[in-house]
Amino acid sequence: MSAKASSKKEDFQFGKQLNELEKIVDALEAGELDLDAAVAQFERGAALADELQKYLAKAELKVKTIKTQLNSQPHENDN
């Protein structure tokens, strides 16, 4: 997939966090950080990976059917 703009609504973290994680890994591999900074980055990266995996684990597709009429009432229709 080519690079796409992030969701414009509320601060949606997923894309940003994934991006940050990638940058941290690159920085660690570049080996230019001193040991303290590297440890701090490593811990931040681990925390990010954790959060991302938590989000992905919550797998539930919510489908709601909406009638397209003038006075429509949305009703639940789980799929």
């Binding site: 949606f12 040991l35 539930e60 489908v63 059917t65 397209t68």
Partner: protein, 381 residues
Amino acid sequence: MTVTMFLALINQTLEFAYPQVVIEGEVSSFKVNQGKWVFFDLKDDESTISCFMTIYQLKVALEDGMLVRVTARPNVTKWGKFSLTVQNIELAGEGSVKRAFELLKQQFEAEGLFAPERKRELPQFPQRIALITSNQAAAYNDFLKIISERWPHLAIDQFQVQVQGESAPDSIVAAITQANNSPLAYDVAVIIRGGGSLEDLQAFNREDVVRAIFGSKLPTLVAIGHEDDVSLAELAADVRGATPTDAARLLTPDQREIISSINHYQQRSLSAMQQHFYSAGQTIVRLHNVFSGLMANLKHDVRQLENQLLQAADQSIWRAAETLRRQQQLLRSLNPLAVLQRGYSIATVNGRVIKAPAQIQKRDTVVLQLADGKVNLKKQD
């Protein structure tokens, strides 16, 4: 009765007997007067009938030669002309449909509705979408299946519409409008339907549908029919899916790939950290070695200095002793009395040491100091 009365009677009779007729025929002499009044003739191989409608009722592109199906009310004009007042007009037959498609496509291209520059990107991680389709269609289930495999983190509001038939275009336009006006901010408006004949897919070549898609503030993802069917709606969309399944793939990332990426990131981080610690350890070992080396050198140097110092001290003492010894020797050898032991004697007159016979006078007494005593001597002459 008068002419006017007769015509009124005829029209009343027609309205009673044929309030609405559906007639199929070919369009000819199509013209639009003053941008409002549409006139054309509807004909078959033998006969022709005049048709009239307003431009606002005309929702399809018409051209001479096209086959159409007209829903109309027959009447006689006040000039005694038999005419059809058209209420609804549909394209009939593939030829017409194709032709109308071409006409509209050219028009829209000229207007810039298909311009690539205006196409917006879809968000990479969508959270909520408006899905405009019919939940009776296989396309709907196919789409949902792929989504639930790839990215089941989506909130989907499915706007139920007709995807073919007469009411389809209005229903689709209404759904697009409703999705755009919803207080829920959708990330994407997705419009899908499965394969079908050219006529089945007609709604997605309709001007109102295409304009609604183009005018949508929500980014649009449209996938109609099979790969080879490209509708005008798809051309006007921000992103086109070749099929509803393809649309599902374009809309979402594959979480399996992402999970794999994250695992990979974790591994790489761990390796990188191990490398960091190893390097740090190496640095410590190196420093330790350097330090040990320095210490060893230092100790060695100190010992050397010690030895040198001791050696130097020894030498000084020895030299001093040597010097003393020599001085003693010299002193001893310079002792005048030592000379006597060798057989020499010291002659003195009146206490003074003499070295020549002339120093002795006639009456002088010479004291001869020998090793073992003194002897007084007088000169005999």
